[in-house]
């Protein structure tokens, strides 16, 4: 297991470096003078030259990149053009709301998705299966922002049960988490169903049934436990989808998280914030995948021996 851990960690480093290289290149991909773009269109000549020095844009590229890595390692993310606050502080304030939103959404997605998937796997071809299949394709095709608006219309504007947006109490979580998690629940339901059906055809399941294990035992111990292993990997991948989806859902519900900060920054062309956010999202996603792979290695010895 330790060797697997090392191997997997070593594999992550090049990806992280490449990601940082891309985010570093970001400023240089902007049309026009990067120092002018970062300083803002109405910055004075001195301000532009200060930014050029601060970002080392007057130094050779390789030196800029090394310094960039060094700054990232020390969480020196620069200052926002719009508010002049340190970017690290802004991101720090927005991190937890997004974190909790994705976690609560994921819990909902796993419960609904795996539950529906198993139900349709057990009663394959039955009414429950067909309903779940219909619900899943609907969930994948439903625009999350539309679902959010429809719910807001119903439960906030008409019934007045839930707050229309913002962050604070449990009530604030209900609609955003449901909206964000539903598409993931749909994907998980489809995947769990096929994983379940695949395992149900294995010889050991037939053996268990033929030697007289009660049906409940066949389902829970022999089929489900093995079917859920690949679901772990999917959960990790879907976390990425949630992080991306949060960007849209936070906009709908005025959620004070990283996603809305990113959209505001893009509209305002606040490049230091955009750069830091893109890096953060990518690094988070890579690390979640790493954790999932390690978990997977723990439950499935076959993987770590490969």
């Amino acid at each position: 297991m330790f060797e697997y851990l090392l191997r997997r960690l070593a594999g992550t480093v090049p990806v992280l470096l490449a990601v940082s290289l891309f985010v570093f290149a970001f400023v240089h991909l902007l049309p026009g003078d990067p120092a002018r773009m970062v300083a803002g269109q109405d910055a004075s000549y001195e301000q532009v030259e200060n930014v050029r020095k601060e970002l080392l844009l007057d130094r050779p590229l390789w030196e800029q990149y090394i310094r960039y890595l060094d700054q990232m390692a020390h969480l020196q993310l620069g200052r926002s053009i719009k508010t002049h606050e340190p970017v690290a502080t802004m991101i720090g304030q927005r991190f937890m709301p997004t974190f909790w939103l994705t976690v609560v959404s994921m819990i909902w997605a796993v419960i609904a998705g795996v539950g529906l998937g198993v139900l349709s796997g057990v009663w394959r071809g039955g009414v429950a299966d067909r309903l779940a299949a219909g619900g899943a394709i609907l969930g994948i095709s439903f625009p999350s922002f539309w679902l959010g608006l429809l719910m807001m219309d119903m439960f906030s504007v008409r019934l007045g049960w839930l707050p229309t947006g913002g962050y604070g109490t449990w009530g604030h979580f209900v609609m955003p988490a449901f909206t964000l998690g539903s598409a993931v629940a749909a994907v998980m339901a489809r995947f769990t169903r096929s994983a379940y059906i695949e395992v149900a055809q294995e010889d050991y399941v037939r053996t268990a049934r033929s030697k007289g294990v009660p049906e409940r035992g066949v389902i829970w111990t022999h089929t489900l436990r093995n079917a859920l292993i690949p679901v772990i990997t999917l959960t990790g991948l879907q976390f990425g989808f949630l992080l991306g989806g949060a960007i849209v859902v936070e906009t709908v519900f005025a959620w004070p998280g990283l996603g809305r900060l990113l959209i505001d920054s893009v509209s305002f062309r606040d490049y230091p914030v955009i750069q830091a956010e893109i890096l953060l999202f990518a690094v988070e996603f890579v690390l979640i995948n790493l954790i999932v792979d390690l978990l997977y290695g723990m439950v499935n010895p076959e993987i770590r021996l490969k």
Binding site: I140, F145, F241, S267, F281, F285
Partner: protein, 284 residues
């Protein structure tokens, strides 16, 4: 003498596809949507851009089937024109992403070695940016607007096609007919284009259909958050964003464009599922 009947794969596929009623219905829905979008100048009951200050925020009626928006513009007409935007953006971004992805996938699988390593590692890095993020990054660089959205969404489609096609190419490279062609000296470009590319197409078509749904959804989302089509444009996501201010007052502004997105995306997803099942019976 018994003559074995060998059906052409294309006809066999069509026969299996036709048996899938849901997918057939989806195909018809898509044809109707595309037809409506491109006949917009003739079938839209009103001019989509002309305000009517005597008919602000009117609910659905016989005069305005889907009601009017805050400028008194006819929502049905705007939805029909908006279909042009959404379907064009979806189609162009999928075609662009597909062509680049397929080319990278075939080159990667066919040549192998360091080129394969380079392309696949690049793809890995692209996949490290989750969901809608690569599209937002591209918009942040190029600026908001519907044309940039096409590039942005095309870019996020590239890795999916590249991986898919690389896998098929690796398998096809070892088949007898490709090996035989190679042994009689068929050139490498010809091997890739004439012998390998056709074999990858079935899976590519399935993915392209599913991807159309995703792309239309992403484009609408970008317009909704203000990074895609800009206001007077009747893009569906932009219309929804407009309706946000009138929840509880004029729900139809929010309901109809959303319904248009849902129906379109659903049709492409169901079509993709049907195509996949018709192509590969094992997957069911």
């Amino acid at each position: 003498m018994i003559v074995p009947t060998i059906r052409s794969p294309g006809r066999e596929f069509w026969r299996r596809f036709q048996r899938q009623r849901v997918a057939m219905v989806s195909l018809v829905v898509i044809i109707v949507l595309v037809g409506a979008a491109f006949l917009a100048p003739w079938i839209a009951p009103y001019d989509q851009a002309t305000p009517d200050y005597d008919a602000l925020l009117e609910g659905p009626s016989l005069v305005h089937w889907a009601g009017t928006d805050s400028y008194g513009r006819d929502i049905l007409s705007r939805m029909i024109w908006g279909g042009q935007v959404s379907l064009t953006v979806g189609f162009l971004s999928v075609v662009l992403g597909c062509v680049v992805g397929v080319a990278l996938g075939i080159i990667s699988g066919f040549f192998g070695g360091w080129l394969d390593g380079l392309i696949m590692r690049t793809i890995d890095v692209m996949l490290a940016f989750p969901g809608i993020l690569p599209a937002i990054a591209v918009v942040a660089i190029l600026g908001p607007g519907i044309v940039n959205v096409i590039y942005a969404i095309a870019l996020s489609a590239v890795p999916v096609f590249a991986r898919l096609v690389r896998g098929t190419t690796l398998a096809l490279k070892e088949t007898l007919y490709v090996q035989a062609s190679r042994s009689i000296g068929v050139s490498r470009p010809k091997l890739m284009l004439r012998h390998i590319l056709p074999g990858t197409l079935p899976a590519v078509i399935v993915y392209a259909s599913l991807r159309m749904g995703t792309s239309i959804l992403t484009a609408a989302a970008l317009s909704f958050i203000g990074l895609g089509a800009q206001p007077p444009s009747p893009e569906w996501g932009a219309m929804l964003s407009d309706g946000r201010s009138y929840l509880g007052v004029a729900d139809h502004i929010t309901i109809f464009p959303g319904l248009a997105i849902l129906i379109t995306v659903l049709a492409f997803n169901l079509l993709g599922d049907g195509l996949r099942d018709a192509l590969d019976q094992k997957l069911r």
